[in-house]
């Protein structure tokens, strides 16, 4: 209500952030797990006295650097850009509360960049011990970045006692901090194996290729049981009401839940298949398929986590449409148009019902609903409802439909919103009861 709205329509409902975040999260987990993969593969090469493995590590480092340093870093900045455009109020809360966590993470980012460049640059130029130390420094900094960011991400899901005391430390070390950290660490290790398949299957020498592919399969399979255990711990750490909401009450999350459950055995099966000696072309194709399955896996998890916050963007503090929970009664009393700084209209006028309705839609619905887009398309939903149906849905928001924020407007504003959804959006000349 404090900021102007970027009217996206088709790309509304969080499509931009979903695309940017899923791609980034996949690559950024690779940036963590892949760092460990580099040093442990180098250890393996040294232990086995195998120069071919060491040469592979160098080639994999180049691939790793090009993917994580360019695409990973910039999509990370991209998330920041995107959330500040789509939900500036929530971004502002995260930035102001955790400015020094972000700043600390930035210092780690500096060290990460220097470490990975020098790690790549110094193959064969310094002693193995020094080279490995630089690799370990990279991994330590990358994992500590995860440590910090994980706290901020989970703060949005379970802010815990921050809601009462406003303390930085309560917010960072929130109730799901530790299980989420373990979960993401194991996930990062598995993703390192998935990306490892990509470069390992490209090795020309069959013996080396088989050795490396089996090594990568170990990375995928070994942490799996720990991942499941930490997922269980993660669920158990959720407050009961939130757990019920995530697993039972939000209808849109069931599909992502199924995708997550289906992908788990697929990853295991794929890992086992990769470990078996099969023709090179089969392994190569399977590596690509596995990489896609991994993307779906982490994408489903992120959708569940993000969706689980509904109707909030910061649990019990700020609704998904940027309205503060404590401000809701006051806004309901005076109305959305009078409360919003950036509204074209200050009140609902009889001859501008559609304009007022669209304004109310933009201010309170656009953050979760698109118009004609792939995410929670409001045109499609409106078409399935009569005026009475829309009235019912809007009145039920926040109670019978607990995953939606309560409607913050007055009765006239509700009428204007219904007019927009039923008449303007569907281009209907007459109201249809």
């Amino acid at each position: 209500m404090n900021y102007p709205v970027w009217q996206l329509d088709f790309a509304g409902g969080g499509l931009l952030i979903a695309v940017m975040a899923i791609l980034h999260v996949y690559v950024s987990h690779f940036a963590v797990g892949g760092g460990l993969f580099l040093v442990l593969t180098e250890h393996k090469g040294i232990r086995e006295n195998n120069p071919a493995i060491l040469a592979y590590v160098q080639r994999h480092t180049k691939f790793f650097m090009l993917l994580t340093m360019v695409f990973g870093s910039l999509t990370g900045v991209g998330i920041w850009f995107t959330i500040s455009l789509l939900n500036p109020a929530a971004t502002s809360v995260l930035i102001h509360n955790f400015v020094f966590a972000w700043a600390a993470e930035w210092t780690l980012f500096v060290a990460e960049i220097v470490a990975i460049f020098l790690y790549y640059y110094s193959f064969g130029r310094i002693s193995s011990r020094q080279h490995l130390i630089i690799g370990w420094i990279y991994f330590a900094c990358a994992w500590l970045s995860l440590f910090v960011i994980n706290g901020i991400i989970d703060f949005m899901l379970t802010p815990g006692s921050w809601l009462e005391n406003g303390s930085f430390w309560s917010g960072l070390f929130n109730p799901t901090f530790w299980p989420a950290l373990f979960f993401r660490t194991f996930l990062a290790v598995m993703i390192a194996g998935l990306f490892g398949f990509m470069t390992a299957t490209a090795q020309k020498e069959p013996g080396l290729r088989h050795n490396l592919v089996r090594f990568c399969a170990l990375w995928l399979l070994a942490p799996f049981v720990f991942l499941l255990a930490s997922a269980w711990w993660y669920r158990a750490a959720l407050p009961p009401q939130l757990e019920a909401m995530v697993f039972d009450r939000i209808p849109g999350l069931q599909g992502y839940m199924r995708a997550f459950i289906v992908c788990s055995p697929l990853l295991i099966l794929g890992g086992l298949l990769m470990a078996v000696r099969t023709p090179s072309a089969v392994r190569r194709s399977l590596a690509v398929v596995m990489l896609i399955v991994g993307l779906i896996y982490i994408g489903a998890f992120e959708f569940i986590r993000e969706g689980g916050r509904k109707p909030y963007i910061i649990q019990n503090y700020m609704y998904a449409n940027s309205l503060l929970k404590e401000e809701l009664p006051a806004v309901q009393q005076v109305g959305i148009l009078k409360s919003a700084r950036w509204a074209h209209l200050r009140k609902v006028e009889e001859d501008k019902l559609g304009v007022a309705g669209q304004e109310i839609f933009n201010l309170t619905c656009l953050s979760c609903h698109s118009i004609g887009g792939p995410l929670r398309d409001m045109r499609k939903r409106s078409a399935q409802l009569s005026i009475k149906g829309l009235e019912f849905v809007i009145s039920a928001m926040g109670e019978k439909l607990p995953y939606m924020p309560p409607f913050a407007g007055t009765d006239e504003e509700k009428e204007a919103l219904i007019f927009f959804l039923h008449r303007s959006l569907l281009n209907q000349p007459q109201a249809n009861d």
């Binding site: 404090n2 900021y3 102007p4 709205v5 970027w6 009217q7 996206l8 940017m20 090009l66 360019v70 870093s73 910039l74 999509t75 900045v77 991209g78 920041w80 850009f81 995107t82 500040s84 455009l85 500036p88 109020a89 971004t91 502002s92 930035i95 102001h96 509360n97 955790f98 400015v99 020094f100 700043a103 600390a104 930035w106 210092t107 780690l108 980012f109 500096v110 060290a111 960049i113 220097v114 470490a115 460049f117 020098l118 640059y121 110094s122 064969g124 130029r125 310094i126 002693s127 020094q130 130390i133 630089i134 420094i137 900094c141 406003g166 303390s167 930085f168 700084r341 950036w342 074209h344």
Partner: protein, 356 residues
């Protein structure tokens, strides 16, 4: 409409604003230096082949290409921190201006990804590129210039809330700010500065090699110094143009911000003149010292101009504070540890005597 009504309410900051403003200034300075080296050296790589055949200019361009991806990485990294501190101090202005030009603002991410990969292609495929090389450097320069232009626009919209009312006449998310008379000179000022610093960075690199006993690149020291001198001399009239179109309140000597701006501006000017004289004598390191001083003073001037622009609406001292100093201490510890690790790694790799 009164623009002050549109300004969102700020969130509380955890420490006194001065610490955050200090960090903003320092990190902006670091970002500007890295950005100048990146854009400036890319401009030199684009222009150098025009000055002579590939046998002569090729080694220079190859060397620039080798360094571009690394400089790009640090430019982006050093851009993250000032963007963070800017949001903490001026978030209510910055988020608003970003949304008003959201389409262009978000496009920066795509443009930077393309530029970054183009820089890697230039570095890793230099020999294979042949005549396409100039097209690639041209694309890199163009993309960086476009990104810089978008940044200038955002900073311009951010500090002029009276321009925000255009939101209500359409063009949501696609506004640029051509009606600001300072936009073009400000942008050109940055570009000329980048070209100058890019030239100086080349001179520094070859001076460093010369001091290590490799005199093969001596001509590039003079070449880089000449780029620095010419671009800086061109920048003087641009700077005066910029100064001329700045509103009088920005350099009003009766206000504290105006006084500080004037001191910073003339300090910067004086240091730039000294650095040009040093560069013309090919005393590269002193020229760099004075040039960095000039950039730092210019960074300060930029901050004071922003404060003056926003003065009718906002003062940093008015920001609500919810004190929590322990996270800042932890950040400083991280800064020291990360700095120590970086120093150790650089020392280990670059001072390594032999392969063991």
């Amino acid at each position: 409409m009164d623009p002050s009504f549109l300004i969102p309410a700020p969130d509380p900051i955890p420490v006194n604003w001065f610490f955050l403003q200090f960090l903003l200034t320092i990190t902006t300075f670091l970002h500007l230096v890295a950005m100048n080296v990146l854009l400036g050296s890319a401009c030199v790589a684009l222009a150098a082949p025009l000055a002579g055949p590939d046998e002569q200019t090729g080694p220079l361009c190859r060397k620039i290409g080798e360094k571009l991806p690394y400089v790009m990485a640090f430019t982006i990294n050093f851009g993250v921190a000032p963007l963070l501190f800017l949001q903490v101090l001026y978030g209510q202005f910055f988020y608003t201006s970003s949304i008003l030009m959201a389409g262009y603002w978000l496009a920066i991410i795509g443009l930077l990804i393309v530029t970054y990969y183009a820089a890697y292609i230039y570095h890793l495929r230099y020999e294979d590129l042949g005549p396409v090389r100039s097209l690639l450097t041209g694309a890199i320069v163009l993309l960086l210039v476009v990104v810089a232009f978008f940044f200038c626009n955002n900073m311009s919209i951010m500090q002029l809330p009276e321009s925000w009312v255009r939101y209500f006449s359409g063009g949501r998310g696609w506004q640029l700010h051509f009606s600001d008379p300072t936009l073009v000179p400000r942008f050109l000022h940055f570009i000329a500065s980048a070209v100058a610093v890019g030239g100086l960075a080349i001179a520094v690199y070859y001076e460093h090699r010369r001091r290590q006993g490799d005199g093969s690149g001596e001509r590039w020291i003079k070449y880089g110094c000449n780029w620095f001198t010419i671009a800086t001399l061109i920048n003087f009239p641009i700077g005066f143009w910029f100064l001329g179109v700045l509103p009088s309140f920005a350099h009003n000597a009766t206000t504290l911000a105006g006084k500080l701006f004037t001191v910073s501006l003339y300090g910067s000017l004086a240091l730039a003149v000294i650095s040009v004289i040093q560069a013309q004598r090919h005393r590269v390191y002193p020229a760099v010292g004075w040039a960095l001083g000039a950039i730092f003073f210019m960074t300060l001037a930029r901050e004071f101009v922003r404060i003056a622009y926003l003065n009718p609406y906002f003062s940093l001292a008015d920001l609500p504070v919810a004190p929590q100093y322990s996270p800042m201490i932890v950040f400083l510890i991280f800064l020291i540890l990360a700095g120590t690790l970086v120093w150790w790694m650089v020392k280990t790799v670059f001072f390594a005597q032999e392969v063991k």
